[in-house]
Symmetry: C2
């Protein structure tokens, strides 16, 4: 994509009320636009990153047997009254609105109730189980405060998967497969080393749920990391009794701040029982379906990647989620430079490598500043100087290392 074609531009300042590093950088680099507190529109470079994250998560969900749906935001109160989650005294982050006939309706903050009702139409026998159903869908949450940028939005894209199994053993088996898929997702998007599966509070059905926590000073959560074996415990369940139960020593634990980038939860029959989602087992007995839920906030994950991967000059995108793998910077208006740059773009396109092509009339310094801010992993400079050397100048955004190399050498490096 030619950068002169892109409608966004970088800017020096972020909105004064924005405190999160990721939101500031994403706004300054033109990836997102702040509509109001906790409400962000995605601009073209942001859409490209978001689509890459969605594709990575979708592939992982399909690999564990997930089937994709797209449920609605508008929700019928009757459904939520059945599970006692309509009353604002019980759930404090509803956005509610009204139909023309004055009927109250809600905007979904999650979809357990909605999907359980759908499944009631399709699950009858044990032969219909297990099923795993997921979506990428906008969630609305009426947060009292929304000061953390994209880390805690009032409107955000979420991947939510729900499992439907006949018993606890099948739930446990799928739960571990989902946990492994999550671990793989965080590794792919560049957060493998800083993400910890963390014991958190469970609920009626299960003592614990599992959170995936990214260690990061800007996190809202406090967790305790064991120096032995990498186990982690959320502050909310960090008691002497639970440490003993988990075989952990307080002296081995270190308190850190963290961002929750995913959670998985054994729901059991919490929703299936009141909503009447039952199946008939091998002996003809009706039983409630056993459920689990598995969430990843796409916008929060996108922002967390930047909270972890940034420096004073800007963002540093891991390769798998970068808006483009290569940022080409053309310097000067020498026709020979233009021709060489065009040839490079064509050579990369032929191999399926897309380029953000900085063809703007602008000083080298401004172009380099913008390139560092946008944070594409590999910057390639084509200029009179590089032409004279018959090489390209290639900079690794993460390490800052600059090397002169030929086009074949660049291609080899991008393949690696």
């Amino acid at each position: 994509m030619r950068q002169s074609h892109l409608f966004t531009k970088t800017r020096k300042e972020a909105p004064a009320d924005e405190t999160s590093i990721s939101a500031k950088l994403l706004i300054r680099a033109g990836f997102v636009f702040k509509e109001q507190a906790g409400v962000y529109s995605m601009l073209p470079l942001g859409v490209l990153v978001q689509n890459k994250i969605v594709a990575i998560v979708r592939q992982a969900m399909n690999a564990i047997g997930g089937q994709e749906v797209a449920m609605t935001s508008l929700q019928d109160p009757e459904l939520w009254k059945t599970t006692d989650r309509w009353d604002d005294a019980k759930v404090d982050n509803w956005f509610k609105t009204k139909l023309k006939n004055d009927t109250e309706i809600g905007l979904a903050f999650t979809h357990e109730e909605a999907l359980t009702r759908i499944m009631r139409n399709y699950v009858g026998s044990y032969r219909d189980l297990p099923k795993f159903v997921y979506q990428f869908q906008t969630k609305f949450r009426n947060e009292l405060r929304a000061k953390s940028g994209l880390l805690r939005g009032r409107e955000f894209l979420m991947k939510d998967l729900y499992s439907f199994t006949k018993d606890t053993a099948d739930l446990e088996a799928f739960y571990e497969r989902a946990a492994a898929a999550y671990t793989q997702i965080y590794a792919t998007v560049g957060l493998g080393e800083v993400t910890h599966r963390t014991f958190a509070s469970g609920g009626v059905f299960s003592k614990f749920s599992d959170e995936f926590q990214v260690v990061c000073d800007s996190g809202e959560d406090t967790i305790y990391l064991s120096s032995k074996g990498g186990m982690a415990v959320n502050k909310e369940v960090y008691t002497d009794d639970i440490l003993a139960e988990l075989g952990l020593q307080k002296s081995d634990m270190r308190e850190v701040r963290a961002i929750e980038v995913g959670n998985i939860f054994k729901l059991g029959t919490k929703y299936s029982a009141p909503l009447g989602l039952t199946y008939t087992d091998e002996h003809g007995t009706a039983k409630p379906v056993v459920m689990g839920s598995y969430g990843i906030g796409v916008g929060r994950l996108l922002a967390t990647i930047i909270e972890v991967h940034a420096d004073d000059h800007g963002m540093i995108w891991p390769a798998a989620v970068a808006p483009f793998p290569v940022h080409l910077v053309r310097l000067g208006d020498d026709p020979k430079v233009s021709a060489a740059a065009d040839n490079l773009v064509a050579a990369l396109a032929k191999r399926g490598i897309e380029v953000l092509d900085d063809d703007r009339e602008m000083s080298p310094g401004q172009k380099f500043t913008d390139s560092d801010l946008i944070g594409i992993p590999t910057r390639v400079v084509v200029s009179a100087k590089t032409l004279a050397a018959k090489k390209l100048e290639v900079k690794d955004r993460a390490t800052g290392a600059v090397e002169m190399m030929t086009t074949p050498q660049l291609l080899k490096r991008l393949k690696a």
Copy 2:
């Protein structure tokens, strides 16, 4: 995809309050679930079709220079007061809700205001124009009545593109390119012959807008088709004066019902002027940006395809938007049949052709009935009988024609 893996099933009945043919068939075949009037969740087969339509439209928008964004549903009233579109007396289909601090906010029914504000950050000079920006985004419209299934939803996915140009000449040029792209989209999804570009009422800036109307008895609109040259006029502008202006004779016009599957609109400076979206021209003069808007409702388009392509047995998907190109029906539990069917699936997968593979234990009659209802273009039967004949039984869903052929012949046919 194995059909036994799919969590949805077909059913004999649609909800009693559902009158639209497309909604009835989509519900019965398990493509969508009706949450409430005008509110439909997409189930796996529906998601597959929707994703194909989105991909076709996205490619067409990129080809005319569109850049993709994803704006928010939550909207700041102040922005809409500027253009006098906040008051319920002016716009009667808002869904409005409130933040925790009691501030009123709206759910976007369109995005002219939101995008114009975003563009104000990036457009300064004539050099920044033209720009074309689009999204696929959920729209909320508080319709008084919602009795037409997916044809008029309260919550639906829409592609909306907005053009930003320096003058009317550039707007006109892009407008015609967008119209040509729309015509191509309708042809690709199987509506080419029944879709008519139709004169409709314009607004302050332009006498006419253009609608794309699909001739169909279940349509809510009335249009007049000329028997000479295919011109069409919406009833709302069907006057003697306008017919004379367009050079049309009343005696050549035929009244038909139609479904509006797209509209394009010259906005001029209607939004840029009040919202202050200006640019500096070549002479240093500040001027308001000239805008246009271009919409396609994805859910309505999906439903319209079925309103046009269906028979008493079910849906008939055009190839480009079918959930799968092939529906394989296995008959009987002979291991030789299973092996032959498995081999066929593998041979098709090798060529990138995905199959809905009916591996369910069910009578042939029920499988055929389901296959006709789901409406995949090519049905292939593998049974003891076809094995004995060393051929496959291949049925064309649209024509009903059944042929016996070899696997290479099937591959050739699917390629065509």
